[in-house]
């Protein structure tokens, strides 16, 4: 949460001669982050980020209190202006004829830690004075009239929300404020005219008939709020359990300043100065008369627990030892009560520091006020862990990316969440995907099970790129019953290059990992094949058509988990050959739809002296194969090769209904 604090307003609470820029610098180093300073009207306004645990700093007074302690550390004269706002100083009504009776207040379930109120009569409906209007504008609040703005003003100054009821409306509706939990179906309308239906369990105020007359700590309701004819005010403060406020505020999405403060647990002791300050302003600006006694039920005052901390703990965290007297001094400046027993401190935080509960919290207070910037900076001299995770190989992933990028491929990062259409473009049905319960946009709803549809989309998006090849290394998410999805890392590749060129790139990539060969197993009636290294399936390959243009794309999916165990970091060295190999070409006419992969395989397996077989050229049905013969012991003569050649021709002609071109 951020709060805006005009400098002049701050200086009413903080005595210092320091310039705003210096206040910004010092406070940010040891306390809340003063993110910016705006020039607004004739004043500078600080924009300060307050962390959720420090609701005590969400006010002008709160910031002044923090700043006073911090600035002193920098040897800058700074002091929190003392303040005395006590309920005993509110005068009791003297004229009994002008006394107005307080409503009956019921809190059977003890839902409020503290309740305070007072009745003010004869409210003069005056315009908000310029000084107040200016400050409200500087902190970006709307300006209404004094009777309404006073409540916002004191909340900002002191940090506790306060509400002004139309006293006569409350009395007309039964003169009773019953603090209770709403039932399911109860209805209320907020002061801005929005209607809501309760889910049950919200803390509300009801009249004797069970009508909701306020949504406390969040927003007033229209039936009891100040309106144009309001003459008398019931000024009211309550403290409801933070989780109850949060529940109602989140349930109905009513996120007012009051709600955001109250759900974080405001110090109930703040109720008194806030009420007193508001009464003073109503007297000053609206000429009100005090018409009742001050009601104050603080029967549930919380006591904060004492934290016991060993001084050694401070050294454990900071790596240096700080004098006991300095530690005690810092804590006392922060208004903690400290009892030192040898090397142990018993620290009782002030009522507004509910965030201090464990020794580490006390360490933080000492460290930040001492100044993090005053601590040395060193690398740890401790042991280096050697236990590496299994199943991951980040080096191989990097190598893959580098190789593909070097061979002309573009690496893509696409979203893990996909649209319904992209989910359907995978090999899985839509209902076989995990779906987000609260997706933000329609194009990101399902957790993808394949990278390929996303990559195809990337090709479609870049029609200006000819022969674009894209790849991505990312997880896909396969649902499992009662378990987290199976997250499987895939290498997805989609290219507009020819199938042979794309496969060639894959081949070269695998060679990078010393995997010298792979094959594709494809059923003749299918347009999809399995990629095998030996007997291990590492992925799939298929052809898709680019929407619109009809251009073909080669798609490859490699499952990294299957590939990783096959990867080698170095080759198995073989002594250089002492004999020469002989290469020759054979050309066969093959029937249509003959798979070439198996042909190559067949030739290779004919004899141990056939070292390598490659497809050199294809012209219509004619396929030219290059065959390399080699024997590690002797140079092969034509006489030795001749029978092999004959066997190749015979086998291929027979197994594949092929015909040799030319003669042997």
């Amino acid at each position: 949460m951020n709060i805006l604090i005009p400098n002049k307003w701050l200086l009413e609470q903080l005595e210092t001669t320091l310039k705003p820029e210096k206040i910004q610098e010092f406070v940010s180093l040891c306390g809340p982050s003063v993110e910016r300073i705006y020039q607004r009207g004739n004043d500078e306004v600080y924009d300060i980020e307050i962390t959720t645990n420090r609701v005590d700093s969400m006010s002008v007074r709160g910031i002044a209190r923090e700043a006073a302690v911090i600035l002193e550390q920098f040897d800058v004269p700074a002091k929190l202006v003392s303040q005395s706002l006590l309920k005993k100083d509110i005068p009791k009504p003297t004229d009994s004829t002008k006394t107005l009776q307080l409503p009956k207040i019921i809190d059977q379930k003890k839902l409020c830690r503290r309740t305070m109120c007072v009745v003010l009569r004869d409210v003069q409906r005056t315009a908000t004075p310029k000084w107040m209007a200016d400050r409200l504008s500087q902190i970006e609040l709307n300006v209404h009239e004094s009777a309404i703005d006073i409540t916002n003003y004191v909340t900002h100054e002191l940090g506790h929300p306060i509400h002004a009821f139309d006293y006569d409306q409350v009395m007309k509706l039964g003169g009773e404020i019953n603090i209770t939990e709403a039932k399911k179906g109860d209805e209320f309308t907020t002061l801005d005219g929005e209607s809501y239906t309760c889910v049950g369990g919200e803390v509300v105020f009801k009249n004797p008939e069970g009508v909701i007359i306020d949504l406390p700590s969040i927003k007033g309701t229209s039936n009891t709020s100040i309106n144009d004819s309001t003459k008398n005010i019931l000024l009211w403060i309550e403290a409801i359990h933070p989780s109850k406020v949060r529940f109602a505020s989140m349930t109905h999405a009513i996120r007012t300043v009051a709600a955001q403060l109250s759900e974080k647990g405001i110090d109930s002791h703040l109720a008194e100065p806030t009420l007193v300050k508001a009464v003073q302003l109503y007297q000053e600006l609206c000429d009100v008369q005090i018409a009742s006694e001050v009601y104050d039920d603080f029967s549930k005052e919380e006591k904060l627990a004492t934290i016991i901390i060993d001084l050694k703990k401070i050294q454990d965290y900071l790596g240096i030892s700080i004098e006991k007297s300095q530690v005690v001094s810092i804590l006392e400046k922060l208004e903690c009560q400290v009892n030192a027993v040898k090397n142990t401190l018993h620290v009782t935080p002030p009522s507004f520091r509910k965030d201090l509960t464990i020794p580490a919290d006390i360490v933080e207070e000492i460290a930040r006020i001492y100044g993090y910037h005053n601590l040395p900076s060193v690398l740890m001299p401790t042991r280096i862990p050697l236990n590496k995770p299994k199943d991951v190989n980040f080096e191989a992933e990097e190598k893959t990316k580098h190789f593909l990028a070097d061979t002309g491929w573009f690496e893509i990062y696409s979203y893990s969440m996909v649209s319904e259409q992209l989910a359907k473009n995978s090999a899985y049905k839509i209902e076989e995907h995990l779906k987000l319960a609260n997706s933000l946009t329609e194009d990101k709803v399902y957790l993808r099970r394949s990278l390929i549809p996303s990559l195809e989309e990337m090709i479609e998006k870049n029609p200006q790129e000819e022969n674009l090849s894209v790849f991505e290394l990312a997880n896909v998410y396969h649902p499992r019953t009662d378990q987290l999805p199976l997250e499987t890392l895939y290498l997805g590749m989609v290219s507009q290059k020819s199938l042979r060129k794309t496969k060639g790139d894959l081949s070269s990539l695998l060679q990078k990992f010393y995997i010298t060969d792979f094959e594709v197993k494809q059923k003749t009636d299918e347009n999809r094949g399995k990629i095998l290294v030996g007997k291990i399936e590492i992925g799939k390959i298929w052809i898709d058509t680019l929407k619109g243009t009809g251009k073909k794309m080669t798609c490859i999916e490699i499952e990294m988990k299957a590939l990783l165990p096959l990867i080698k970091t170095h080759p198995a060295y073989k002594a250089l050959p002492k004999t020469a190999s002989i290469k020759e070409q054979l050309t066969f006419t093959l029937p249509a739809k003959t798979q070439i992969g198996p042909v190559l395989q067949t030739i290779r397996e004919i004899d141990g002296n056939i070292k390598q077989v490659t497809l050199d050229d294809v012209y219509q049905a004619n396929h030219t194969f290059s065959i390399e013969y080699w024997n590690e012991k002797k140079n092969l003569s034509n006489e030795l090769i001749k029978p092999l050649r004959e066997k190749i021709v015979k086998t291929i002609e027979k197994d594949y209904s092929a015909k040799l071109v030319g003669k042997i």
Binding site: R246, A360, M380, A405, N638
Partner: protein, 351 residues
Amino acid sequence: MSDNSINNLKQAITKLRTQFDNEDLDLDAKKTAYLGKKGSFNELSKEIKNVSNENKREAGKLLNELKQYLQKNLVDNSQQKTEWTDLTLPGIKQKKGHIHPISQAIEEISDIFQKIGFTRVRYPEVDWDFYAFEALNMPSDHPARDEWETFFVKTPQNKKMGKMVLTPHTSNGQVREMERLKSKPPIRMINVARCYRRQQDVTHTQMFHQFEGLVVDKGITIQHLKGTLDYFAEKFYGPGTKSRIRPFHFQFTEPSFEVDFSCHICKGTGLITDEHGDKNKCSFCKSGWHEVGGAGMVHPNVLKAGGIDPQEYTGFAFGWGVERTYTLKEGLNIDDIRYFYSGESRFLKQF
């Protein structure tokens, strides 16, 4: 060569060439052996008479090629002059691909931390509420959770682990790493992963990347966190870059910090001297510093959730966005981070 097939001639030519290539004689002797009157070439040429008439033409061509090959390779290179070449001709470029900038950043970041003993790990991107929040000292409905605009998966809740979420930060790796190491420090982990939040504008995407460091051992102090951050700043942004920590609040660290790096453009001064010697406000940073992310000393409850005794061990953690960290580099002022995930080739080509 009684067979008329030209193939036999081809075989013989291949064989002769292989033999020639492997022959280890001095130049003159080799010349005589191959191109001499009774040399191998002349011997082989006689075989043309055995080739059928229809193939004679091709045979002649093959023999001619062989002769040229032999001649070319029997020239004394020491006296050979290279013909004139226009060296100003433009080069022909290989088609170049591109590694995505996020990968480049992740690689650089991981390398920096691995050099000081960090182990890179990977944990689920879809995880249980337990690891993403509960074990990090954030019970359900804690207001601190509001800051993580979390995506939930539509699936039944697990009794023990809670809801299934898309990880809104990499901190789910903290307790998982403690579990992997069976609660036995030392821990020096760097976890880089995809993260997800319900947000979308020029500075936020529904998916982004974070990296998370976690160090746990005996005697780990705030000084070591500062040392690690300074080391990273210096390596990643260049010599002279400093880090600073300021108070902040996270539920899973105590104390918690916000981490800033000094601006490498104005050297942390917030001022730039122009060509006239005038000092102007640095437009790249906020008064000399860049806010990059969060850090802190691991909260005792988080150590406990990972089975580690907070009386015996302390630790620190830090985590921030890869995109943000990377785009703070000089010259990488990318105004709309959605480009990272757009697949826009004009964007990717620049990296």
